[in-house]
Subunit: 362 residues, 2 copies
């Protein structure tokens, strides 16, 4: 297995530890049983710790994309202001629009951060917005938006909720949703949490629930208030992805053993090493300086290498999978994910192989 | 493990075979990779066979509940007629309403089948309905609705789509969605398919897609047209529950080895045996005669036994889990699920234990 398994260096899904994979295979239990309630409570305690929150953390059996829809259907009455700077923030805005809500945008070119706080303040001062929606770490471009500064501006406007996608940032660095006043914080599990896909997480504030109470047509499957009602009974509204919850429980134990601060340091070290490596090799970083994501590095192909050939060689010869660039950036960039359980040794093994290829490609 | 694991005789989640559980732990792959495309195609071929359809079978990372929402958001313009006779059919109607669509009902008491074809025809003749929504096997009451007769009536009305929940019926008996003109057929995987929860299936007709093209505010996560677009590339719109797809692949191989007809026969035999056992012991069946589900039996507690005590004893002493009755039927009924991989031997082991308890309880 070790020799033929393709090791993932993707910005999600990421490589999953064998013992976490094994936890998926725990025999099933009924989701209305006492055993499930106990599992739910254990996982809640772990998630509150891992995500630095006292708020409930809902287990949504879906991709994180679904929680975009959950956030806007439950928290946006009419109009949402989307900070857009890449494929995912753009798709969130589209999701809002195709749910019949107005989705206005403050948009900057791919590679730039949404850091024009004056424009944000001016837009919110119109009083037209129910919420601001923001992708913290834009996985398509590797840009990290200045969440704390944005949150401070949003906090100046009492009725504006803050909806944050932390899909490729959550647990790579501290976020503190309660202190920042984040009303919806959403994560997938197949990225920084180092788990297999099939579950998403939603941290929801009291204000988010209060807002939902004023909004109709929230739907059923992704209704914030249904999650709250079942959460009080240590349950999910509908049959959950029990295998992923067992894996989450196991991974939270492993995260406790590592500790949050060491986990943040490890991720910082992986990101610094990848950035330094890229710059030393004569590549540029795609994100503007000072706004690079921690969970992945998006490298601009300034050396005009054949990214397809590199990625194909890595996979065929070394069973290592990197990303060839998202959408319109395909080949013009390549992305290395360094989230979850990755170690510096894992990363060095990849970089060494790329160096070998670059030396041959001349 | 064998001695302490609680064996599930629930109407879902059901007991899962160890080799299917083990398939969950297959190492992850990227969901935009060639390897995923090949997995997707293999699973499609298996599902078209298992569900007797030539239509695409979408893999929805969600509970089956979400596909109720998918069906009504993509296929109902204004008004849906719901055939209601239990908790699940009622909740589907509520789901339609809380998505801002009109949900009218033809409702009969719990335990009865929706078999008033004249009432159905009369309602549809008003021309007010975009679709009829029906739960084939009402898991809360163990009632099997006469799908074929209902489908024939709906087929008399050209513009009316037929939306069918086959969550606890699909693969326990033949359904043939293409022949019956079913436009949306939805299943969960944690019931008759014998898999762990976390994935739902949606068979969609060409008419369903054509209808979706005329409807706005379909949302994104559960939009039928997004599924069709990605299906053409052997992908899902968003990151799927890859572990469950590996388990599904394995289970489809096992189903092929058994064969569909033997599988239907086995399920029929399990249902007949459970019904005969209940009647011989002086219980009644909760469903009206002739409309009993195949995947589960809902037994009316006419002997007024202490269902809680029975279920508790079965679990504590024998590690067997049965259901104590759904919602308002708790204690007034109890339910035995006999879906998925269950054998007659498995079932007899349970019934023997219940007989022991009944003899002691006098």
């Amino acid at each position: 297995m070790a020799s033929t398994h393709d090791r993932l260096y993707l910005p999600g899904p990421v490589e999953v530890a064998p013992e976490v994979l094994a936890a998926l295979a725990t025999p099933m239990i009924g989701h209305r049983s006492a055993a499930f309630g106990a599992l739910y409570e254990r996982v809640q305690a772990g998630l509150r710790w891992a995500l630095s929150t006292e708020q409930p953390v809902y287990l949504v059996t879906a991709s994180a994309t679904a929680v975009w829809e959950m956030a806007v259907r439950s928290c946006v009455r009419e109009r949402c202001l989307h900070l857009v700077n890449g494929a995912f923030s753009s798709r969130w805005a589209k999701t809002t629009a195709c749910n019949g809500k107005q989705a206005d945008r403050i948009e900057v070119p791919w590679g730039r951060a949404n850091r024009d706080l004056d424009a944000l303040r001016e837009a919110l001062a119109t009083g037209r917005y129910d919420a601001v929606a923001l992708v913290h770490s834009e996985t398509s471009t590797g840009v990290l938006n200045p969440l704390e500064a944005i949150a401070q501006v949003v906090a100046e406007f009492e009725d504006v909720l803050l909806l944050v996608d932390a899909v490729s940032s959550g647990t790579t660095l501290p976020i503190e949703p309660d202190r920042l006043g984040i009303d919806i914080l959403l994560l997938g599990v197949q990225k920084a949490l180092g788990l297999p896909p099939g579950l998403a997480l939603c941290v929801a504030s009291e204000r988010a629930h209060a807002r939902a109470e004023t909004i109709s047509n929230r739907g059923y499957y992704l209704d914030l208030l249904e999650f709250r009602a079942r959460h009080a009974r240590h349950q999910t509204p509908t049959t959950p992805a029990i295998p992923q919850i067992y894996a989450l429980e196991r991974q939270l134990e492993r995260m406790r053993a590592e500790g949050l601060e060491p986990r943040y340091s490890r991720h910082a070290q992986l990101a610094e090493r990848t950035r330094a490596w890229a710059l030393e090799r004569g590549f540029a970083l795609f994100p503007e300086s000072g706004y690079e994501a921690v969970g992945l590095t998006c490298i601009e192909n300034t050396r005009e290498i054949d990214v397809n050939a590199l990625a194909g060689w890595l996979q065929q010869e070394h069973h290592m999978v990197i990303d060839r660039g998202y959408g319109k950036l395909r080949g013009k960039t390549f992305r290395i994910g360094h989230m979850g359980d990755m170690t510096l040794e894992d990363l060095e093994a990849l970089l060494e192989r790329i160096d070998t290829w670059l030396a041959r490609a001349g």
